[in-house]
């Protein structure tokens, strides 16, 4: 029944999806945290930059960003991210770049909403008992903020997993790219669709379950 899978590297394609997801997740967590720090900082200029970045990037389709990174950055500006002769590696790195740039905006918003869940009175109380700014941040605000953003960040991670399929638009050989090739050549459209759908359910479901359980467990009850 699953003869059509022979000759295709389905697991390899999903491994590519996982690699794209993992690298982009780490990258967007770092860049998103920086953006969130800017958005809540006391310096108006940084706040303005953070707000502008988030509002601009959030409203551009990811497809546009990724296709631009290939046609614009690589072809015109020659930005190959250290893989000028290896076309495959170049596509992969550009896709990660695009995914990081896009996902960071959502990570930033999730983190910022976490900081906003901490009631103002807690900081006031912390100051009243004589804690310094860094103590307030370290002991009072951030622990609560981090615990309340696990749920939203899990959603961002799941969306990122699904969004990696957009990399197929610039020829990165991940799951959607392989599926496109397979359903054009093979007769069993439904079976192929089912295999790839199942693959994504397998990738996203445990993430949602584990992080969902964790966010419920760690949530600060108010």
């Amino acid at each position: 029944m699953f003869d059509f899978l022979q000759g295709y590297d389905v697991l390899g394609a999903f491994w590519m999806t996982v690699k794209l997801t993992a690298l982009s997740a780490v990258g967007s967590l770092v860049w998103g945290t920086l953006l969130a720090a800017m958005r809540v900082s006391p310096v108006p200029l940084m706040r303005g930059f953070g707000t502008a970045y988030v509002n601009i990037v959030r409203n551009i389709p990811l497809t546009v960003i990724i296709v631009f990174s290939s046609l614009g950055l690589a072809d015109i500006f020659g930005m190959t991210l250290g893989a000028s002769d290896d076309f495959k590696a170049q596509g992969f790195r550009l896709a990660v770049l695009g995914l990081v740039a896009y996902t960071a905006a959502f990570v930033c918003e999730a983190l910022r909403s976490g900081i906003n869940t901490v009631p103002l009175g807690q900081a006031e109380a912390a100051r009243a008992i004589g804690l310094s700014f860094s103590q307030t941040l370290r002991l009072i605000v951030l622990p609560q903020a981090f615990r309340s953003v696990i749920g939203p960040l899990a959603n961002v991670l799941i969306a990122l997993t699904k969004n990696t399929t957009v990399a197929a638009a610039i020829g990165v050989a991940e799951a959607a790219y392989l599926m496109k090739g397979m359903i054009e050549k093979e007769a069993q459209t439904l079976a192929i669709g089912a295999v790839f759908a199942l693959g994504f359910v397998v990738l996203t479901l445990p993430t949602g379950l584990i992080l969902g359980w964790l966010s419920k467990r760690l949530a600060v009850k108010r």
């Binding site: 809540v40 006391p42 310096v43 200029l45 940084m46 509002n55 601009i56 959030r58 409203n59 551009i60 389709p61 990811l62 497809t63 546009v64 296709v67 631009f68 046609l71 614009g72 072809d75 015109i76 500006f77 909403s113 900081i115 901490v118 103002l120 807690q122 900081a123 100051r127 700014f133 941040l137 749920g151 959603n155 961002v156 991670l157 799941i158 969306a159 990122l160 699904k162 969004n163 399929t165 957009v166 197929a168 959607a176 599926m179 496109k180 459209t189 669709g193 790839f196 759908a197 994504f200 359910v201 996203t204 479901l205 993430t207 949602g208 379950l209 969902g212 966010s215 419920k216 949530a219």
Partner: protein, 302 residues
């Protein structure tokens, strides 16, 4: 001060903020200068590359028809997905297990699959069935993919809308003798729809953005697709991306602003119950899962 993170600045903090501002400004200027230099190096700042966008030809031949197709696919998907989403959302809250479980499975399944896979799959199915002309096929495939995905996201929004209503509404409806169906159709749904409006409008942004996938992967002639025809004609890749990007930003920014304006207005309104399903509602719903599902958040709003 309105932030938990910092106090009203004293003289030292003020000086430090000014210092940070200056450093940040310098860094930002350096980056912008570098981008400008790079553009100049590659001759991307020549007026001849930007000029086409000041003529009506570029707009009437490429951009506006593309934008029209983008909006057409988005509007069609929304109109079809909304009743479907309402149906599945309400089914998911049914008291009957045999209605609730299948509806939950359908919703969670389509929410956890990338839209692109749904579009590719639909495209191939239409190609094989032969009932759809090859001209209409990309539009059909894009709309099918978007409907399947967004109906399941909207189902969650509808559920969040109904759950956001105060419990007393249902209790009062039962108390005056309404049946379950009547309570849903004449008490809960009308209020839920009002409460949901901001979330529904903001979901439109997601739909508009996802139409771009149809342009690259299955040849639907929407904005991003017509951009490449335009760039092939005028040889202005970067410039066309900038213009198309700006069109998307303006369009989606208007939708986002409209959604949050609606949210503020509904929150103020005295006639409502005060229940409003805001822009990030679907995410929040998963944190407070109601049961009958496995509660995997599917990142509906990205």
């Amino acid at each position: 001060m309105t932030s938990v993170l910092y106090d009203a600045p004293g003289p030292r903090a003020k000086r430090r903020n000014v210092l940070f501002s200056v450093v940040f400004l310098v860094l930002l200027a350096l980056v912008l200068w570098w981008v400008w230099q790079k553009m100049d190096d590659k001759d991307q700042l020549k007026w001849s590359l930007w000029e086409p966008f000041t003529t009506s030809e570029a707009w009437t031949t490429y951009l506006l028809p593309g934008l029209r197709n983008t909006l057409k696919a988005a509007a069609l998907s929304m109109v079809i997905a909304l009743p479907l989403g309402a149906f599945f959302g309400i089914s998911r809250m049914s008291d009957h297990r045999w209605v609730r479980v299948p509806a939950s499975v359908v919703v969670e399944f389509f929410r956890s699959i990338p839209v692109l896979l749904l579009m590719l799959f639909a495209n191939e199915v239409y190609a094989r069935s032969g009932n759809v002309s090859s001209e209409d096929r990309p539009l059909y495939a894009v709309v099918t993919g978007l409907v399947l995905y967004n109906a399941s996201v909207l189902a969650e929004i509808v559920r969040a809308g109904i759950l956001s209503l105060p419990k007393g509404q249902t209790e009062a409806a039962y108390a005056v003798g309404l049946r379950k169906g009547q309570t849903m159709t004449s008490i809960l749904l009308p209020q839920a729809v009002t409460a949901m409006l901001p979330a529904i409008v903001s979901q439109l942004v997601v739909i508009v953005k996802d139409t771009a996938l149809g342009g690259v992967m299955i040849g639907y002639t929407e904005l991003l697709n017509t951009r490449s025809t335009l760039a092939a004609n005028y040889a202005n890749v970067i410039q066309s991306f900038v213009v198309v990007g700006i069109i998307y930003i303006i369009l989606n920014f208007l939708l986002t602003s409209f959604a949050s304006w609606l949210e503020r207005r509904l929150r103020r309104s005295k006639r409502s119950t005060g229940a409003v399903v805001g822009v990030g509602a679907v995410d929040e719903l998963n944190a407070a899962e109601v049961g009958g599902s496995y509660g995997a958040g599917a990142g509906g709003t990205i």
